[in-house]
Symmetry: D2
């Protein structure tokens, strides 16, 4: 299963004095893509949170090939690697307007109760949508 965002334009505030996008922003782009995917699948992450299910990131890999610059237009692709279990594993790739691979990465997300601060099982709704 795979999802690709529409074109997203790099914002000025996302650059640093190295003159391209600060590397921490790619984690925000990944997040944006996976949450947009949930919305498209009909899952409201806000609703999940209100019901007491948080999805924190527990592991990250990032591999940078070439930078994004202010004004660049990029797309993020997300792939679900395995069937959801105690965690969700997503792979990502960001591609710019010249079809260059900007970076690739993986995030592992867990399910957490904000009340008990303990891990939870994957909610039914996600099992359904992702299988």
């Amino acid at each position: 299963m795979k999802y690709t965002t529409n074109k997203i334009t790099v914002r000025y505030s996302e650059t640093d004095q190295m003159q391209f996008v600060h590397h921490s922003n790619y984690l925000k782009y990944f997040e944006l893509a996976r949450l947009e995917w949930l919305t498209v699948l009909g899952v409201s992450y806000s609703e999940m949170e209100k019901k007491g299910i948080l999805m924190p990131v527990v592991r990250v890999n990032l591999d940078f090939k070439t930078p994004l610059y202010f004004g660049d237009e990029f797309q993020v692709s997300v792939v679900l690697k395995d069937l959801p279990r105690a965690t969700l594993v997503f792979d990502y790739e960001i591609i710019n307007q010249h079809n260059q691979i900007i970076c690739s990465g993986t995030t592992i997300l867990a399910f957490l109760s904000p009340f008990t601060k303990r891990p939870m099982r994957c909610p039914e709704i996600l099992l359904e949508k992702f299988s």
Copy 2:
């Protein structure tokens, strides 16, 4: 009443490609200073939030004189303008290691209930500390 922070060093991630600090960060520096002041006065803002009192910013003025650069060391001074009422009015000034005024500003904060989403009166503890 006035509070001045210790020296704070500009972080690389706070710059943008203009080669100095992005203007939105000054609002974060102001916030840092007023919350640190509360801590020094013995008020835990985290505890206030848990009891159901939020302090959102409702108005901002900012006046930039000269930029902060990566590695600069600055201090933020905060002054409480009036006795607390329905709002708190703070004035700020940021000064760098060369004693230059970087920017000045004002923020007005209100008290908000996260449950009713309605304005509240200033909590007793703040009235006490700030008078």
Copy 3:
């Protein structure tokens, strides 16, 4: 003269623990709108920077009415207040998907040489486009 952005979706990373968008992000939304406007007018801000013209923000006013939440869709409108001179004065308004006014504000921008660190006159291209 006026410009209105397409719908922009609030990103998760733009919220804070108050459960809505951190107030510093509105300055990034304003910036995004005015730079997008330049692009639409055929002015490349990147090119301007390469030629040695920076446009730092020198003054800000912000007035918050009601918050933006994660997933909200908003539009930013920008109005140029006066003919460009030594500075550019822009007024902004942000409106959410329910047509509520979220915030309004003003930014004043100057023209700065990155080499001399001194103010410059408004470049011809902007005078042309904005009159």
Copy 4:
């Protein structure tokens, strides 16, 4: 070789609506630690940049154990893994005020010329300081 920062306090603006620090900020904390280390070693990263040597991050690993909350005080430890070559490999660990491991990670940095946009060799000054 190892460096540990002084205590750093979590800023309000670093949290998100999950009520703890957004995961992208840990990359900023890592960056802060390694650049502070350079300063302590007598290397000015600003000077390096002016001479035309950038140090972009090309690979990241992050492992989150438990979150940082607003007001928490943490320290970042950085270790240089190997002698500097075409890249610098740093390992990090963040520990909070209760001596809990918050997260660990690795970043690989390369040397890049802003003019040619090409990789460079590790500058002499770093070879010296790190051996």
